[in-house]
Symmetry: C2
Subunit: 309 residues, 2 copies
C-alpha cells in the first residue's frame, strides 16, 4: 500500500480512532498520524502506546497542516469541535467523521467549514463493547461496512480518495444520503440497542430473580443483549438524541408488532407464533450468506486476520 | 469416567439429544444409547452417523429396558409421549426431559408415570441456532448450566445419579423449583427471544429499507438479534404457549420500561438516557466475570475443547 494522505489528524482517541491509527500504520496509508483528546490521561496513553506521533491539547492545533481530519467524538460534541477547528484547517483538506448519525452531524459541522475544505461525512459499522485508546486494533474494519454520505458540495475526487483510504483499511464502502442512512441505522442498530438496554434494565429491577441468577443463566439468550447493551453510554445517549425521529418511528412499529405477538401468546394462537418464528429464520440465513457472521455451532466469530498474517 | 446408566433412551433426536449421544460416547457414561424419532428421515440419519446403537419407530419400543429415559421433544409433545411410554418403562428407571419450561412438563408428564419410576425434570441451558440430528456435538454442555427441578416424589439417590451423569458431560448443575425456573427463564431467555423475533419481524416488514440493506448492515447490533431469532420455531411456539404467565409478566415490565426510555428520547432527556445506559454496563461485566462469555474485542467465544483434547 502507499500513502494516501500525508498527515492524518484524529480528533478524539477512543475505540474507532485508535483502530484507525493502528490500521493506517499497518497499511502505511499516511506519513504521519497526529491526534487530540480532551482528557490528559487519554493523551498520555496515546503517546505511551504510540498511536500518534504527536498528540495535542487542543483540536485546533491537531488539525494544522492535516490533509485528512477525522472527527471521532460523540455526535453531541461535533458542533463545538467543528467551530474550534474551522479557522485552522488547511485549504483543500478533507474533513470526515465516524458518527453513528449523519444528518445531525451534517447540520452541526457543515455550517462551520470554510470553502475549499472537503466535507464527507462517514460511518464505519464496526465496534466492540470496549472503549478508549487501548481498545483499538488494526483489523477492526476488515470486511465491515463503512458508509459515506457525501453532501451536495462533496467533490467526486475527494470522495474517491477518502474511499480508497477506507477500503485500504479493509472496509467495504457504500454511499447513500444522510436521511436514508439514519433510517437504516435506526432499524439495524439504534432500535436494537435501545431494546437491549431495556431488557437488561428489566432484569436489573426484578426482585424475585436475583442479579446473580440473571448473570449465571444468561447463556440462554440474555447474553446477546448484554453485549450490545454494554457500549459507550455517552455515544448512545447522543445517538438517540440526534436520530430521534427515525428511532421513534421504528420503536412505534416495534411495539405494535410486539403487542400482536403478546396477544397471540395470551390467546394461545400457536399457528401465528409458529409462522412468525419461521419467517425470521430466513433473515438470519441471509446474514450468514452475506458473510456478516458465521454459522459455527458455538456462535464463534472467526477472529479477524492478524496484521502481517 | 465410568458407566452411570446401563441403557439410555433418547426420545426425540434433535440438537440436544444428538449432543447428549455424542457426550455419552465421549465420556463412556452408558453401555448403550438407543433412540426414537417420529420422522423416518431423522431415524435414518441417526443410524447413519452412529448416534444410537438402535433406533425405534415408536417411543414405546425405545424405552423398554432403559435405565434412563430422556424426553427431548418440544414441550407441546410431552403429554402424548408420556402417555405412550408409561406402560413400557422399566421399574426403577429414571425419566427426565430437556424442555425449556418446567411446570408445564411436570403437569403433562407426571400424571402418566407409574409408581417406582423416578421423574426428575431438567433443562440444559445450551443450544445453537441449528436443529436436527446432525447439529449435535459432544461439548455442547461443557461449562453450561443444567437446571434440575425435582418434584416432591423425586428420590435423593435418583437425583444424585442423574446429577453425576449431567456433570460428567461437563455441565454445572443447579436445583430449583419449577415455578422459579420458569420465571428465571422468562427473564433470561423467553422474553429476550420474543423481542428478538419481533425486531427481526419489524425489519422484514419495512418498505423503505430493503431486506438486503438490513442484512448487509446487520453487524451494528441487529446481528445479535437474528442469531437468537433463528432458533427452532416449534420449540419456541411451545415455550410461549406453556410459559404464558411468566412471559406476559416480564413483557409487561419490558414495555413499561421501554415507554419510559421512548419518552426520554422524545423529550430529549439526555441525563436519564446516560444514567440508564451506564447501569446496564455493570450487568455485562458480571456476565464476563462469571465466565459465561468472553470479553475478546471481536466478541469471539472460545470454542469448547474438542473431545480427546
Amino acid at each position: 500500500m502507499s500513502v494516501i494522505y500525508d498527515r492524518v489528524a484524529l480528533i478524539g482517541l477512543g475505540l474507532i480512532a485508535s483502530s484507525i491509527a493502528h490500521a493506517v500504520k499497518w497499511k502505511g496509508l499516511a506519513r504521519e498520524v497526529v491526534g487530540h483528546a480532551r482528557s490528559a490521561e487519554t493523551r498520555a496513553t496515546a503517546l505511551e502506546i504510540g498511536l500518534c506521533s504527536e498528540v495535542f491539547e487542543t483540536a485546533a492545533e491537531a488539525v494544522r497542516g492535516a490533509d485528512l481530519v477525522i472527527l471521532c467524538v460523540p455526535v453531541g460534541a461535533m458542533d463545538a469541535i467543528a467551530a474550534e477547528i474551522a479557522p485552522h484547517l488547511k485549504p483543500g483538506a478533507t474533513v470526515t467523521d465516524v458518527g453513528s448519525v449523519k444528518q445531525a452531524v451534517i447540520d452541526a459541522v457543515g455550517p462551520h467549514l470554510p470553502e475549499g475544505v472537503h466535507f464527507i461525512p462517514g460511518h464505519p459499522l464496526a465496534g466492540t463493547e470496549h472503549s478508549g485508546p487501548r481498545a483499538g486494533f488494526a483489523t477492526l474494519f476488515v470486511n465491515r461496512w463503512w458508509l459515506l454520505t457525501p453532501v451536495a458540495q462533496s467533490e467526486p475526487d475527494a470522495v474517491a480518495r477518502l474511499r480508497s483510504f477506507v477500503e485500504a483499511m479493509g472496509a467495504n464502502v457504500e454511499e447513500m444520503d444522510a436521511p436514508h442512512h439514519d433510517l437504516v441505522l435506526a432499524v439495524t442498530s439504534h432500535t436494537p440497542h435501545l431494546i437491549a438496554y431495556t431488557m437488561v434494565g428489566v432484569a436489573d429491577h426484578l426482585r424475585r430473580v436475583s442479579q446473580s441468577e440473571v448473570i449465571k443463566f444468561s447463556a440462554s439468550g440474555f447474553r446477546d443483549f448484554t453485549r450490545i447493551a454494554a457500549s459507550d453510554p455517552v455515544m448512545w445517549r447522543d445517538v438517540f438524541l440526534t436520530n430521534k425521529e427515525a428511532t421513534l418511528d421504528i420503536l412505534g412499529r416495534f411495539t405494535e408488532e410486539l403487542f400482536m405477538l403478546q396477544r397471540a401468546i395470551r390467546m394461545g394462537d400457536g399457528d401465528m407464533l409458529h409462522d412468525y418464528f419461521t419467517r425470521t429464520r430466513a433473515i438470519r440465513r441471509g446474514i450468514i450468506e452475506a458473510g456478516q457472521d458465521t454459522d459455527a455451532p458455538d456462535f464463534g466469530r472467526a477472529p479477524a486476520p492478524k496484521p502481517g498474517a
